[in-house]
């Protein structure tokens, strides 16, 4: 039995996607990071190279969340990812 594929376009970051969470490995620092279900979905949308507006729209469709809250979550996650050099592309 196999589960979801590992895939990322950032060559220094590897991501393993499971149901409901993602684990990231920064290959240079050898540090691991964990994304919860919401962050996982944002990550996947970032991997598709969608811009913030498109991601917010997708989140409001998929989750019971307002556009403002979705935008705040995206901005916060992107800032976190940048801080740890983890951006997906």
């Amino acid at each position: 039995m196999m589960v979801n594929r590992i895939m990322t376009q950032n060559k220094t970051v590897l991501a393993a996607h499971l149901d409901g969470e993602t684990v990231l490995l920064h290959m240079d620092s050898k540090r691991y990071f964990r994304l919860n279900a919401t962050a996982q979905r944002i990550w996947q949308l970032l991997e598709q190279k969608l811009d913030t507006d498109a991601i917010v729209e997708a989140l409001t469709t998929e989750f019971e969340v307002t556009a403002d809250d979705a935008r705040a979550a995206v901005v916060a996650l992107v800032a976190d990812l940048k801080q740890h050099s983890l951006s997906p592309s």
């Binding site: 039995m1 979801n4 499971l18 409901g20 990231l24 490995l25 050898k30």
Partner: protein
């Protein structure tokens, strides 16, 4: 919880997980302590797959919060190793392309190439000896360290801190001719620059490696799942090829039992054949683990061996414990013995392993004594 009860609980979990993951039988998980979960997961190394299986069938909460925490923690460790192995494979692909070498990924690594999340402790790859030596040299240049042991089948493993090890195989002695595996290997779809064995060779290597090379872990769920996946993804011609090899093999019965259990088609006799040693293994490792919990008797045994006989004896003890009895030794006498009378070398290794266990018992006992005395020593005395 007694050692026996803990081992029994872990074994009951194995039976349950086996039915869940391989036979699709959904039943309530056995009620047992988190410690038994921990032992079960250490033996079977299937935490990610089991966690995902429970999530997908909407039964994550059936195992209770404490067991769920143990499962989540084990799954996270497995995932970290998966990602680490994946990063090593990417590096190997880059190096293989630089030197135009054919590097064939073996065993659990093949599942990773296909995007799977199978736990693995090291990355095994096969190439011809000059290519393996060149790869090793490039890894050394990049700051990889090497273990002091090699084996007739592979070079000294390379590693960097925080990553799984890389074993560069130059042979598949005892399993099958490596030249044929290299010749019929196929380019990997998952990571460009690497190859994977043909479907039949992949099944065969998994089957014989986990049955013959490691009889001490026959029936491990992680291996069964890998064999099952390899079989189900192989074309009919590959399956027929493996069937023909099985017919001609002198250990056909146990190999067929392993394959049958992996596919959920084993007869009761085959199930008994594969399972007969498993409870004893659970009990034995529970006892050894109980001894080595505090302090790390294993490390102390290594240190004691190093003090008494130097690094060669420490290596020999570790090889006796962790590797095949036929693995190369750094002690010339042991190698000479192996060349002339292989049986005596294996016996010596088994004796070394037994001595190691008794030393561990002794050191663990001393360790417990030390633990009882510890409160009498002031904290500042223990800092420096």
């Amino acid at each position: 919880m007694s050692i026996r009860a803990r081992a029994r609980g872990a074994y009951r979990l194995r039976r349950w997980a086996l039915a869940e993951l391989l036979n699709g039988v959904h039943t309530a998980p056995p009620t047992t302590e988190p410690a038994a979960w921990s032992d079960f997961l250490q033996h079977e190394r299937c935490a990610v797959l089991l966690q995902q299986h429970l999530k997908r069938s909407g039964r994550s909460e059936d195992i209770g919060p404490e067991a769920a925490a143990v499962l989540a923690s084990a799954a996270m460790r497995e995932l970290q190793r998966v990602l680490s192995a994946r990063s090593q494979l990417q590096l190997l692909a880059e190096l293989a392309q630089q030197q135009s070498a054919r590097v064939v990924v073996l065993k659990g690594g093949v599942a990773l190439l296909e995007g799977g999340h199978t736990d693995l402790l090291d990355v095994d790859v096969l190439s011809d000896p000059p290519a393996a030596a060149a790869l090793a040299e490039r890894l050394d240049i990049r700051g990889y360290q090497r273990h002091t042991y090699g084996a007739p089948r592979h070079l000294e493993p390379r590693f960097v801190e925080g990553s799984v090890h890389i074993e560069l195989h130059t042979s598949l002695a005892g399993l099958m001719p490596h030249e044929a595996v290299l010749r019929t290997a196929q380019p990997s779809d998952g990571i460009e620059g690497l190859f994977r064995p043909s479907p039949a060779d992949h099944i065969w290597i998994m089957l014989t490696h986990s049955t013959q090379m490691h009889p001490d872990r026959r029936g491990r769920l992680r291996d069964l799942l890998l064999i099952r996946h390899a079989w189900l993804s192989a074309p009919a011609s590959g399956q027929a090829d493996v069937g023909a090899r099985l017919q001609a093999h002198d250990q056909r019965a146990i190999l067929e039992a392993m394959l049958g259990v992996a596919l959920g088609t084993a007869s009761p006799r085959q199930q008994r054949l594969l399972e007969r040693d498993v409870p004893a293994r659970y009990l034995f490792s529970a006892r050894v683990r109980a001894l080595t919990l505090r302090p790390s008797a294993r490390t102390l045994v290594q240190r004691a061996a190093r003090i008494i006989g130097g690094s060669a004896m420490a290596d020999e003890l570790r090889i006796s414990r962790e590797l095949s009895p036929d693995a190369a030794s750094t002690i010339p006498f042991v190698e000479m013995l192996g060349a002339r009378v292989p049986f005596l070398k294996r016996s010596l290794r088994q004796a070394g392993r037994a001595v190691g266990v008794y030393l561990a018992v002794l050191i663990a006992w001393v360790g417990r004594l030390d633990h009882r005395l510890a409160p009498l020593v002031s904290p500042t005395d223990r800092v420096r």
